[in-house]
């Protein structure tokens, strides 16, 4: 059975060019970049090239890029640095729809004496900017707002937010893990201080990410030890990962146009076809500005895990906002923050496409989904109830 992979917001296929670029650093060039001999020390050149490739993708300077182990570490490093550098400020602000890497981090700071403001979103996943600005105070250390949401793809207006937040002299961090490689990003234009990214979300390897730190931003390291990364993050450089991330950034820059046009058209085709073919379905955040590759569709009265497992029978890989897939009581906090009713939140499926997604794959999904939903609805007591109610009204 062929795998149809539309779970690219979870992780992506490593680009063959990236694998190729990385391989020599596992075999003949295994040195330690901190060594005095050129066998190891010479790797500094490769790291420098990768740092430039990463910087170029987001319009930064190479010395503003810090390599980390991934998005989660970048997020934690950013917030740690901001709070350590501003010990008098005890208030932090974020949103209700953040990735757990920020959500749980802020909860932890909240338990450790920080005052935390969590800004709500509307039914389309759009940030309540008025509530955000109203809550900024003199002792607000940092605001962390994701650039684009992993579940719905909803994009935040980072330019406007950065302007407003900076006019109040407050630091702004953005978790741009889902945005990098899918949207053109230019930190020369968008005035964020700290920006997290992760290579495996755009066809790079897992276990490597970066934090952009605007020049002049006060910084304190979270991981201390050796002098690597200019003393900002200790630990022997993950040279294959760094080289792979550099290459992935270079490719992502080349593929941005494809993602913004062809992939967007495929996403729109998939979404419109499913909404049309399946009654009682809707696109979560569908009226908002969204990532071109992401579609979150709620199928009412059926449950996400069951949908995913039936999709799995056809080799289709996607994600769900259901509680049952995570073992928790509550469906996705993102969908709940948007006020998506339980009838729909439990049955929400996220399709996330990539540069490698083909039209045939999209057509295959369009052909298979309606029967999957119909089959589960025939078993659902709520569907029976809803149909009886609809009949009574007619």
């Amino acid at each position: 059975m062929k795998t149809v992979y539309v779970d690219n917001n979870a992780t992506t296929q490593v680009a063959p060019e990236v694998v190729e670029a990385m391989l020599p650093f596992f075999t003949e060039r295994y040195g330690n970049a901190s060594s005095m001999h050129s066998f190891g020390g010479g790797l500094i050149v490769d790291i420098r090239r990768a740092r430039t490739q990463v910087a170029d993708l987001i319009g930064a300077r190479p010395d503003e890029i810090l390599f980390t182990s991934g998005g989660t570490e970048s997020d934690a490093t950013a917030i740690h640095a901001a709070l350590q550098s501003n010990p008098d400020k005890r208030h932090i602000v974020t949103t209700r729809v953040e990735h757990p890497a920020i959500k749980n981090l802020f909860e932890q700071y909240g338990q450790n004496g920080y005052r935390v403001t969590v800004v709500p979103v509307d039914g389309q996943g759009r940030l309540d900017q008025e509530a955000l600005l109203k809550n900024l105070r003199d002792d607000t250390a940092i605001v962390s707002i994701m650039w684009a949401n992993n579940e719905t793809g909803v994009i935040n207006p980072m330019d406007d937010l950065a302007r407003e937040i900076h006019s109040r002299g407050i630091l702004l961090h953005t978790d741009a893990v889902q945005a990098v490689g899918k949207l053109p990003i230019d930190v020369g234009r968008t005035d964020v201080d700290l920006l997290s990214m992760s290579a495996h979300k755009f066809h790079g390897p897992k276990g490597i990410g970066a934090l952009y730190i605007r020049k002049g931003t006060k910084f304190r390291p979270m991981v201390v030890g050796g002098h690597q990364e200019a003393g900002r993050r200790a630990g022997t450089e993950n040279v294959p990962g760094i080289v792979g991330m550099g290459k992935a950034c270079e490719l992502a820059g080349q593929h941005l146009e494809d993602v913004g046009t062809r992939v967007r058209r495929l996403r729109d085709k998939l979404e419109q076809a499913l909404l049309q073919a399946v009654p009682r379905s809707m696109a979560n955040g569908g009226q908002s500005d969204r990532l071109p590759n992401t579609s979150s569709i709620a199928f009412e009265y059926v449950e996400g895990e069951a949908i995913l497992l039936l999709m799995n029978e056809h080799g289709i890989c996607a994600s769900s906002g259901s509680a049952c897939t995570s073992g928790s009581l509550e469906p996705s906090h993102v969908l709940r923050a948007m006020g998506v009713p339980f009838t729909a939140a439990h049955g929400s499926i996220r399709y996330s496409l990539s540069h490698y997604t083909t039209e045939e794959e999209v057509d295959f999904i369009i052909a298979k989904m309606p029967a999957i939903i119909e089959r589960l609805r025939q078993m659902s007591p709520f569907w029976k109830q809803a149909m009886e109610e609809a009949k009574a009204q007619a």
Binding site: G304, A306, F342, Q378, M379, S380, P381, F382
Partner: protein
């Protein structure tokens, strides 16, 4: 991804007895949309009082559908007296076991069966006392206050762990906090005991903790727990009875039981559930 047995997968992909029975003799409905799973069970009796036909409609994950399918297979041909002896463990065993986090699916099946039998016999359902605070799981202020008081719960997460209250939409968190504040004025924390114990003392303390701290909360949900054995840091227990509603009660239960034992006995205990 969950590790389902082949039998679970088979019953999920080819569920038996899907549908409703018009003019059923017994109908039992459990769960809700909020919880993420719900089951309606129908049965019809033949002239000898045996279950001639059983059907189900289920909203939920693969294991909920498989548990429902298994249940109908298990009860067809049985008298009500025979059917009501079926436990949730029997349903799980029929399917060759369920992941721990999914045991509530079998509990839901057992509950639907009990309700359908009660419905046939004309027995009234138990009405909860007090005013509903958590609408998602139908938990009242009286239940929440009693549990907070008995177990000295000091966080909303603890209340959710014991009662599921607050585990759904979260709208009632302020109300739960208010109830907690009214009970204590100030939050309190129980300090863990640090002294060294003999094995006998440890077992006794585990038993006491189960009796005093854990069982009352489980009884409220119609559930129970039995200490089977203690081996070093391993505490082996058996869970019994129902767990009302539909959520991941078994998981929560383990988390609550283990957390409580670690808090009040020793911090290294590991609670394990054992079969019959």
């Amino acid at each position: 991804m969950w590790e389902y047995t082949d039998k679970v997968k088979e019953h999920f992909l080819n569920p038996r007895n899907v549908g409703a029975i018009e003019n059923a003799d017994g109908v039992g409905e459990v769960g809700s949309l909020a919880c993420g799973d719900a089951l309606t069970l129908y049965f019809k009796l033949d002239g000898d009082g045996r279950i001639q036909d059983a059907k189900f409609l289920t909203f939920g994950c693969a294991s909920a559908i498989a548990s429902s399918s298994a249940l109908t297979e298990m009860i067809i041909g049985k008298t009500l007296e025979e059917a009501e002896k079926i436990t949730n463990e029997d349903i799980a065993d029929f399917l060759g076991d369920l992941p721990k986090e999914k045991m509530h699916c079998s509990v839901m099946g057992k509950e639907a069966l009990d309700k359908a039998i009660a419905h046939y016999r004309g027995e009234a359902a138990r009405a909860p006392e007090g005013n509903i605070v958590c609408e998602c799981f139908g938990i009242t202020d009286r239940e929440i206050e009693k549990t907070i008081r008995e177990h000295r719960l000091t966080s909303i997460e603890d209340v959710t762990g014991y009662l599921k209250a607050g585990g759904g939409c979260g709208k009632c968190h302020d109300n739960i906090q208010q109830i907690m504040d009214d009970v204590f004025g100030q939050p309190v924390r129980i300090q863990p005991q640090a002294k060294k114990m003999t094995n006998i003392q440890k077992i006794r303390l585990i038993e006491e903790t189960l009796e005093r701290e854990i069982k009352p909360a489980l009884h409220q949900d119609g559930g129970d727990i039995e200490l089977v054995d203690v081996d070093g840091v391993r505490v082996m227990v058996k869970l019994r009875g129902t767990c009302a509603g539909c959520s991941a009660a078994q998981v929560t239960l383990k988390n609550v039981v283990e957390a409580k034992l670690r808090e009040l006995v020793t911090t290294d205990l590991v609670v394990e559930e054992v079969g019959a």
